[in-house]
């Protein structure tokens, strides 16, 4: 198997020493079947042990290794070296504060994910003892795509609205809210409405669609947000006209 030298330009930031981030170059002999995460691991293991970054599974499940590679937010475990030019620039995910080197602060998004009440809310009594909530395959198919999110936050790094307005709830959290709103077992749609229909909810999205284009799991948050706009508008008119909505 052939090797190829890749020049990695990695953004560095030491919170105790640096006033602002700077770039450091490393030359990495890459195997042709490597992904960018392998190249970064090579740096850590052989060239510079001080480099800080997050990763865990190396198989598109944990969602930890999201970074900007040549300006695009990607999972570095999914981005093959052979598809990139000889010089590659690695930066921490855009739109997030940098904790150190390639590690970003995700507190804001974690709080937003919590804010949309991402769990099944029931108004009716739960099923009788030893019974389960019944859901058909068709009802599951309505929201299954939205359950694929691994919280890698590439969508937030791609979103121009979030970059300009940090109050915007943003793609992953809104898609997560929609996942529960579309779940036939859930009855909490009206409880999520105040947050979602707020100015910083779905209406701050201008459908650039960047979130869906970069999503490594094809969750399509942009579509979810547009569907919520339709739902929100229908709900608004229902309330205006005094039509009491269903329990969800």
């Amino acid at each position: 198997m052939g090797t190829r030298n890749l020049e990695l330009e990695v953004m560095r930031y030491d919170p105790e020493k640096d006033k602002e981030p700077w770039f450091q170059s490393y030359t990495v002999p890459c195997n042709e079947d490597w992904v960018i995460l392998d190249a970064i691991n090579y740096v850590k293991d052989n060239l510079d042990t001080t480099l800080a970054y997050r990763w865990s599974c190396h198989m598109m499940v944990c969602g930890s290794c999201g970074m900007m590679v040549n300006g695009e937010p990607v999972l570095t475990c999914k981005t093959f070296v052979r598809e990139l030019p000889d010089k590659v620039r690695i930066e921490p995910l855009e739109n997030f504060p940098i904790e150190r080197d390639l590690v970003v602060v995700l507190d804001d998004v974690m709080q937003k994910l919590h804010q949309v009440q991402p769990y099944i809310i029931r108004k009716d009594d739960p099923p009788a003892e030893n019974q389960e909530y019944i859901q058909s395959r068709g009802k599951l198919a309505i929201f299954k795509q939205l359950t694929m999110c691994i919280n890698c936050m590439c969508c937030y790094a791609a979103c121009p609205q979030y970059s300009l307005n940090k109050d915007f709830i943003g793609p992953a959290a809104l898609a997560l809210a929609h996942r529960y709103n579309r779940d036939s077992r859930d009855q909490g749609k009206s409880e999520r409405l105040d947050i979602l229909a707020d100015h910083d909810g779905v209406w701050d999205c201008s459908f650039v669609g960047a979130c869906s284009e970069v999503c490594p799991k094809h969750v399509d948050p942009a579509a979810a947000i547009q569907q919520m706009k339709v739902d929100g508008a229908v709900e608004f008119w229902k309330q205006k006209m005094g039509i009491v909505g269903d329990k969800s």
């Binding site: 919170p15 695009e72 940098i98 904790e99 602060v105 068709g138 198919a141 547009q226």
Partner: protein, 131 residues
Amino acid sequence: MSRNPYVRPISTTTWYMRNGRYKVYVLRELTSFLVMFYSFLTLFALAALATSADRWNAFLASQQSTAMLVFHALALLYFMFFQTFPWFKLAPKAMPVRLGEKKLPDNYIIIGHYVAWVVISAFILWLAGVI
């Protein structure tokens, strides 16, 4: 060890130069100037119509000059490339149609939009006496 997170500055005036996707988005948003132009044009037309037959005929003549016809044609193309085509393509995402537990194929929704567009355009042209 202390925390001192670094927040990268975002330019509020040139942020859209960062990548091609944002540039396309801003080109799409620029159609709002055309919407503004056509809003004013409609107001002028209504004012002319309310004033006198001469003013109305003068307005119609002004819109039929070569320069205005070229402008209208370019505006139509601009709208089609940055609004009609992308939105029709995205319509099945924003408004998926479910029949029971099955989903209507995306192409049906997209083709439905184009058919509606042609029918409504033809109706307006018929109303205007063009066809």
